[in-house]
């Protein structure tokens, strides 16, 4: 047991800190730290900087042009990125589709799509959920019917994050109604410029446009866009869910958020003294810090096991539950730290350089928005209730 970084890990940490210092544009980190809206151009700019340095796909295996970073290194990068105020990299192409293509895609698909993900030609979004298929994803209905060299797609996907920016979507579709529901699902790649694809915004409760509905009406997709074998799509999607352990706890985000909360709590006053010194508030904050310190180590334990090739187990689900609940509790306490100033909301002031001034302290405007927006975290990626089902199934086999 050794809680200290090895000399190699320290060197690695230095290297990435230097990178963020030198290459993360100040304007961009200011936007992130003050929680302004990020435009597609901001994402593209950061994507390119990361790609130029080879950090964008550093976690890819060396044979696919990556650096073969292990889970610990990825995690360290995530923590430093959050501390520096780097934009979150959009994960759909880079972290979700790519591993599936590497494992199950054809040589042609790999050679065509992987470089385009890196150079930013393609912006991918994910077509899994449907209006009738949420936690029960295997009940999905969107159909793909073979017609010569094409599939004809009909149906609807939903909760498509940043689909408004995307030109490509990877979908789970039904290619068979025979046998088990899971065995009739295929994994297919769709160009969103194809006639019959329509993206409609869904405005979330806090007023932001983050997710979309995507409608498919007689959309013609070449059969070469099928990944792997027909009716094996469920296996591919699951492969991703169980192998994607890094970042699931959101440690980097939690650490940055709690620092932000402390800054606010020291600035806000209660009875003339910093709120941070109020016993009730201090107790709530202390409890979160205790939980976070433990979760950080739980996360590193899981990452080390992953780096050593241990098969994924129920701890991935445990991390998802603990990580999301903890971050929600930080959001909740941050909201309460503001007192009445949690209420005013000037949407325009979320845009950098807007002439519209926010009300109250500078940091107040996005806080309640974050609180409401992050209610999603315990719902997406397999709701926390589904995660509990997974844990008990693994532990009890019932």
């Amino acid at each position: 047991m050794d809680l200290n970084y090895t000399p190699e890990e320290q060197e690695f940490q230095n290297e990435i800190r230097c990178f963020f210092n030198a290459k993360l544009p100040k304007q961009l980190s200011l936007k992130v730290k003050t929680k302004k809206r990020l435009a597609k151009e901001d994402q593209d700019q950061w994507h390119k900087i990361l790609n130029d340095e080879g950090y964008l796909n550093a976690h890819w295996p060396v044979e696919f042009g990556g650096k073969g970073w292990n889970a610990i290194q990825r995690d360290m990068f995530d923590v430093e990125a959050n501390a520096a105020g780097a934009p979150r990299v959009v994960p759909f192409g880079l972290n979700m589709l790519s591993p599936v293509l590497m494992a199950f895609g054809s040589k042609q698909q790999q050679e065509h799509y992987l470089p385009r993900i890196l150079n930013g030609t393609d912006w991918w979004c994910q077509g899994y959920s449907e209006p009738g298929a949420g936690s029960d994803l295997a009940s999905l209905k969107m159909s793909a019917v073979r017609d010569g060299d094409h599939y004809i797609l009909n149906g609807q996907k939903t909760w498509t994050t940043l689909g408004q920016h995307a030109n490509m979507i990877f979908c789970l579709v039904r290619t068979s109604n025979e046998g088990k529901r899971q065995e009739g699902i295929s994994f297919i790649l769709v160009d969103m410029d194809t006639p019959g694809v329509e993206v409609r915004p869904i405005i979330m409760l806090e007023g932001t446009h983050e997710v979309n509905e995507v409608w498919f009406t007689d959309v013609k997709v070449p059969i070469t866009n099928l990944v792997g074998e027909e009716n094996k799509g469920w296996t591919y999607a699951k492969y991703l869910l169980v192998h994607e352990r890094s970042g699931i706890a959101g440690v980097g985000d939690a650490l940055a958020s709690i620092e932000h909360l402390k800054h606010i709590a020291n600035d806000q006053k209660k009875d003339g003294k910093p709120l941070a010194q109020d016993p009730m508030f201090a107790a709530r904050l202390a409890e979160i810090e205790i939980d976070l310190a433990a979760m950080r180590t739980t996360n590193m334990r899981v990452m080390q096991a992953a780096s050593e090739g241990a098969p994924p187990g129920p701890e991935v689900s445990m991390l998802k539950i603990k990580g999301t609940e903890l971050r929600q509790s930080i959001n909740d306490l941050t909201r309460r730290a503001l007192g009445a100033y949690a209420m005013p909301f000037v949407s325009e002031a979320l845009d950098m350089g807007s002439n519209e001034e926010s009300i109250g302290p500078d940091y107040a405007n996005p806080v309640a928005l974050d609180y409401f927006n992050n209610r999603k975290t315990t719902i997406y990626g397999g709701s926390n209730e589904v995660q509990r089902n997974i844990i008990s199934k693994m532990m009890m086999g019932l």
């Binding site: 809680l3 970084y5 016993p279 433990a294 180590t297 739980t298 509990r388 532990m395 009890m396 019932l398």
Partner: protein, 374 residues
């Protein structure tokens, strides 16, 4: 970073684990607990031979361990068996003694060999968990100190051959300075020991000191500067009982898991019910949090971050440990309410550990006081 134990430590854990598994079933444990001494001297000797006491102390004082991970590994296994032999008392008093002069540290050899039993008499009826609160006095009269006062809930205080006693040689009741430590043979005149059982099956004692005369040689360390040694012993002890709690938690969870798979109601194993599945998933998550906090506290035991991580650990053990203890009983149902079924005994130990060295609220207040060091 490395979360794997060294080979030596894994062997230590395996050995302790095997001993507990093979020679310390619940029936045996209850028999020892109910015996006159409240533990088995033969078993204590065997455990000493296996090196389980030596693992708690550093090489300088004759042991072969003494780091946070040595302590946590041993006590986790002890927790799995609810071992009643006086490991905790000897860890506490031994840690204080190891800060003393050669004539004191040399006694640790006998402690490690299992021939000499110690106990730390520090807490008092009104001290609660405040380490600086010492009302007991020691006044120097010529070449002797005279001790007067009352010591409360002294762990294994009734079996100790020698007591490590804290007493105030100067200052006010809550001053950090002015606390001195003395090695007092339990049979010294004026030492009145009233031993008793605790609800979870361990032994403790109320100790009254009435004009107890001891030589100045009995002073451990420097007069008036005993607090650091008490803090060190308490940190070790807190780590130890937290590890013990984790061992008991592991057992409670194993038993509950097994029960959910086998107990049938409404025609199916009760583990089929989602109401129970989700609670099981939650307590397993909390167990991982406790294990992580234990690793942190063990790893930072010898650093400036010791107190923060010790308090974080103890708060979490108190908070999540209670949830787990209560859930293991609730998910079992009536059977867990019986003496005969072991899960309740594990739960009792987990809950009572909240009362050793500070409970959930005490350690939350400590965390607030310390601020975040890391």
């Amino acid at each position: 970073m490395d979360f794997n134990h060294t080979d030596d430590r894994r062997m230590l854990a395996d050995m302790a684990s095997r001993f507990v598994r093979e020679q310390y079933d619940m029936e045996t444990r209850h028999k020892y607990a109910k015996s006159e001494q409240g533990f088995s001297p033969e078993t204590w000797s065997q455990m000493a031979e296996l090196g389980l006491i030596g693992a708690l102390f550093s090489e300088e004082v004759g042991g072969f361990g003494g780091t946070g991970f040595d302590i946590s590994v041993v006590f986790e296994e002890l927790g799995r068996g609810l071992v009643v032999e006086p490991f905790l008392a000897n860890l506490l008093a031994g840690t204080v003694l190891s800060t003393g002069k050669a004539s004191h540290t040399s006694l640790l050899e006998n402690v490690i060999g299992g021939e000499l039993l110690l106990a730390l008499a520090h807490g008092e009826p009104a001290s609660r968990y405040t380490l600086t609160h010492v009302e007991t006095t020691a006044s120097l009269r010529g070449a002797t100190y005279v001790l007067n006062g009352n010591k409360a809930v002294v762990i294994s205080g009734d079996s100790a051959d020698q007591l490590v006693v804290s007493a105030r040689t100067s200052g006010n009741i809550d001053d950090p300075t002015g606390i001195s430590l003395f090695l007092v043979p339990a049979n010294t005149g004026g030492v009145h020991v009233r031993g008793y059982s605790t609800i979870d099956g361990y032994r403790a004692a109320e100790i009254a000191l009435k004009d107890v005369s001891i030589s100045t040689d009995a002073l451990i360390g420097v007069e008036g500067e005993g607090l650091a040694a008490i803090e060190k012993a308490t940190a070790n002890g807190t780590l130890a009982v937290s590890a013990e709690a984790l061992g008991a938690i592991e057992m409670g969870i194993e038993m509950t898991l097994e029960y959910l798979k086998t107990r049938k109601q409404f025609g199916v194993p009760i583990g089929k019910f989602q109401a129970l599945q989700h609670r099981m998933a939650d307590i397993m998550g909390e167990r991982e949090q406790i294990r992580s906090a234990l690793i942190n506290a063990a790893g930072y035991l010898e650093t400036g971050e010791r107190d923060w991580h010790i308090s974080a650990l103890k708060n979490l053990v108190g908070r999540s440990g209670r949830m787990i203890a209560e859930e293991t009983i609730q998910m079992h149902g009536g059977i867990a309410m019986t003496w005969e079924y072991a899960v309740g005994h594990f739960a009792k130990r987990i809950i009572m550990i909240d009362h050793l060295f500070g409970d959930v609220d005490h350690h939350l207040a400590q965390i607030i006081k310390l601020g975040r060091a890391a």
